[in-house]
Amino acid sequence: MIWKTFRKMFLILVLVFLYLPILILAVYSFTESTNIGAIRGFSLHNYVTLFTTAELIDMITGTITLALAAAAIATVLGTIGAIGAFYSRKNASRFITTLNQIPVINADVVTGFSICVLLVVALNISKDSYIPLLAGHVTLCAPFVFLSVMPRIQQMDPSIYEAALDLGATPFKALTQILIPQIVPGIISGFALAVTLSLDDYFIAMYTKPATFDTISTYVVNATKGAQTTIKTALWALSTVIFLLVVLIVLVTNIRSLRKANMEGGRRAQ
């Protein structure tokens, strides 16, 4: 009985550690307080600032646009890459899989810096063209799409594709009508993963972005160094909005089959 209580208490304490800061900040974001301490009056002014300051809106839309664009390109590349690698000869397949693994295990600082060195320093491509930034984020995301699609292809009965050929479909039709529909779940989770990775990234953006452009991460890190109180508390509001969005997305995607989703999440974790 004591053991059981201990187990429960431990889980609760770790959850408190993980959520208390975010929740406290959420509460204070609805007040006029500029510091955690005495609560001073309910107010929505942080949210007004967040959604009316051009700088903040630009930063948020910029981050989202970048994430969607990078994830879309990464999804196409990673998916066809996984299909190609799976059906290639052993050596070609191993070559792709090994290179694919590098950005996955590499430190983001190194990935970002190396792309900056190649594109900006060696090839002299201007950061203002957004090409280094986009390329950097695609490089960060595509390998994860590859990894999330690959198991789907491996699990597929290989004769399904052959059956399509047998019934008169050309290889291209067999690919688009039979193979790809089978791996859609992997593609979708790969895309979602790519979006999350891009949204959370700091280092790659830092080393490849144009000076005038900011993602949420680079902006927040900069803002904490400055002492602009209105911006600081507006970011509390942003944090709260993102937290609520995440909760909402989790609820929507999992409400139908929470159990199943979890099992798959676990499976993918390996």
Partner: protein
Amino acid sequence: MESKDTIIELKGISKVFEDDGFKAVDNFNLEVKRGEFVTFLGPSGCGKTTTLRMIAGFDVPTEGDILLNGKSIIGLPPYERPINTVFQRYALFPHMNVYDNIAFGLRQKKTPKDMIDRKVGRVLELVDLEGFERRAIRTLSGGQQQRIAIARALVNEPEILLLDEPLGALDLKMRKEMQLELKDMHNKLGITFIYVTHDQEEALTMSDKIVVMSEGRTQQIGTPEDIYNEPANAFVADFIGESNIFNGMMTGHLKARFCGGEFVCVDDFEEGTHITAVVRPEDVEITAPGHGTINGIVDSVIFKGIHYEITVLSGKNEIVIQTVHNARVGDRVGLRVDPENIHIMLAEDHTNLFYADVNHDFRLEYNGHHLDTSLTRIIKGSKRREDGTVVDGNGDILEPDRVRILVSLMPDDIEMTDDQDAGLIQGTISNLIYKGDHYSYIIHTELEQDFVVNDEDLWNMGDRVSLLMPVDKMKFTLKKK
């Protein structure tokens, strides 16, 4: 010259896989007549599925040609061949319903919608699944999925229907039912069927023509009756039905010595020829002791429903008998076989065949000696599971008591020695022939078996020798008891 009703002809087909250099099919030749039901029969790994895949177009032969109606189709991709396949695990498209699965092939050919509707309806009727159009694949039972897979192939009105072990995933009762139904469909539609199976009973029941394959090579092509009654070699005899197989020697005109006795037979070979004798268990008669050709002691009796399966030990030879008469373990009996029921064949390449037993460590034993190999190493795809049992490539459990291993070994690979304890078995030289650059010896062993050994040196008749048989030169075939 091709006769007019030959639909497909395979000419000297060989297939070597690039990645591992494995020769799956070796010089395969076959002519199939329009409307025939042909079965490729053989153990797993014999090349039957590879051959089928080459006909379908999934694999390209390394050598040889495939002619469909007299024209080569080697260069045609699978989607341009008028041939359809029923896959082993059905390969139904899981994201489509029954209708879309069946309509898939017709849609590729841009068939008008109302025509598709009609054809799908008709073929569903044929497989007895009317009204299943809107059902999702995962809601169907194994048997129903099987029928849909057949319907999906047949709706395209292929010239040839290929079936790759289509009943393998079904339970026994369902399998029997589907066998009859498939045969029925074949008769009704008149389409040529090429069927792949490792189940000899299935092959015998359904086929017009059976192609028995082993290690990529054709062993025998013939009607089910031919193959059962007149097996071309020991492999076929052993694979089709149950058989007692003995190595022996011709001892005179229509006389052969094997299994420790001299039998009268109807096949004539020159005296001194090394032969393989095959006797079906149902052809052995039990007589009173001394009244048969050989005598033995009943070792085991198993009641099998319609008959008893009786194992008799004669010397160290084991003879399996199927009879409606009972016997008691320990009885002394005589055994005889009608001359026409003894199938004598030239020992092919003079290959020596003998049975090894499997002990409880899954190691092989012969004549009280361990062979330096284990079950998992010699049976393709088999593995030892965590619980200690061994399963074959199909996942069936192999029990040491229920299996034995047919070992084959070439005469060149056996060595004779004077050191009686050195070899696996001892015997006396009972015959020798000079073959130009070497002598061919027949060694009559203590187990009443004859072995053929080639040696460059001259030994004397009656010499007692021990036989060194290297395990790495042996070939193994699993036999279930």
